[in-house]
Symmetry: none
Subunit: 288 residues, 2 copies
Amino acid sequence: MAKSFSVKDRLHEQAGALTPAERQLSSVLMRDYPVGGLQSITRIAEAAGVSTPTVIRLARKLGFDGFPELQAAMRDEASEQFKTPIRKREGWGDTKPGSAAFTAFAEAVFDNLSRTIDRLEPGTLDAIAGVLADRQRPVYLSGGRITRSNADYFYNHLQIIRPAVTLLGASPNVWPQYILDMDRASVLILFDIRRYERDLERLADLAKEREAEIILFTDQWGSPITRLADHVVNAMIEVPSSWDSTLAINLIIEALIAEVQTRVSDSARERIEALEDMFRSTRIFRKP
Amino acid sequence: MAKSFSVKDRLHEQAGALTPAERQLSSVLMRDYPVGGLQSITRIAEAAGVSTPTVIRLARKLGFDGFPELQAAMRDEASEQFKTPIRKREGWGDTKPGSAAFTAFAEAVFDNLSRTIDRLEPGTLDAIAGVLADRQRPVYLSGGRITRSNADYFYNHLQIIRPAVTLLGASPNVWPQYILDMDRASVLILFDIRRYERDLERLADLAKEREAEIILFTDQWGSPITRLADHVVNAMIEVPSSWDSTLAINLIIEALIAEVQTRVSDSARERIEALEDMFRSTRIFRKP
DNA sequence: CGCAGGCTGTCAAGATAATTTCGTTGATTA
DNA sequence: TAATCAACGAAATTATCTTGACAGCCTGCG
């Protein structure tokens, strides 16, 4: 291969042919590219958690004679990029990641995330995490046409962390039997963003009659269920697209998963370990 | 080495106290600042036409312990200047959105998102959108234990936008019948993040044998499927949690949905409207 | 179950870099 | 014309890096 390829290019080109340790290393190199590669081989190896020979092997695989040559190449690239007067830097400034549309989209998402966080009531997450960390309380989840995936994602994790978690299926016909089981200890997590769905509201009504605690994830305008909910998370969902973005909802979900996991950690540890044993058939890569 | 002034500042500050040889050296350092200072002391000394002890004496005069410290300082400066504007994200300092844990989590997510974008190969999104916008090509999706939800989310939208979209179920037992249908026109979208799953790799193998085009969403380290994939998206997934974050993957998914929607928009419009009519007539939602 | 082969770390030798020591140079001054 | 001293580099010394050789480990296969 010709010398004109950047280290980044070469890494990507060889991506498929890299061994696990080399991938690990590659990701460290990319992390602070290209300046990160300008320290001694020892330091780089340490940062990546691999041995120094592995670094050399990667350098060779990329077509260099040895590590010093790789480093020289990266230094040249760094120097080159510093010389270009205006930030022609890829990624954001302009151009590269495809269209301007993508940049606009990404910026809207960033904006949504910050604004969603800003708008959160201080105690809300804490309260929700507290409720979900109580293993005595059965948890039910349901979502709308689109947000069903979000409910599914939340369910997926919760159900591993703690017992008594139920995902209400897509078809409202089967909901009543679950509703029958609800009581004041029950927790119902609902997702309802615009194009608010009547069925969900009815579900919330019935659950409230049985005094279940309702946690609602909705959009900036607020689903009608707001009036019934004990805890409400308003996420910003508008992006330059025909579709709404549920990324802000996912952010909150993931944060809650982390928090709930922490709170129930002792009791959950054995649960998770048991599960992992069962999943052992799938190979593990590398614990951080 | 008390203060945190840049090397440039220190050189300027000491300008009057420099000896001729040091002045010479200083000017060489400034010529390709700060990257020029990142080679070995020998090379720098040669370039400046001075001896290596002179370099060390200058480093000490500037307040460093030795040459390596000076070099580390210059590397940090270079690295700092390389950071993309978005990533600085100093904003929301102390907006008390609850715990410090949450703030840390949110910051990690922001970092993940921007780094994921940084790392995207320029043409990738474009290429993927192009493939998915071709309504002649049947699309199949599948994911792992956790990422199944992401696949589901993508499926949910794609299936509304265009025909011939299939979500492969949770149980690998039923995959073979779908694989039988695949050919060189088929597109297989896979999600595989760490704790890479063997079943998915096998699926990819079989699909590749039938010459299907494979689109892979994986993590920063890269699933083994990378070697088989025609398009790869590497998302950063590490957060301060026991669980990995798939938010960056979702960002790309949503961006792709927006883009594909735009490309097929004319033909998709009638499709969506038809669907909405059906939803309206059966019952459920109201318009926002 | 045992073997083959790929992956990766340990170790030690050889190479290079960084620092110290010390002597030379040249300018300044008595 | 010495004597002094800062500036500087050559060479020696020490520290660190780079690389090759080798061995352990895991995985896949018969």
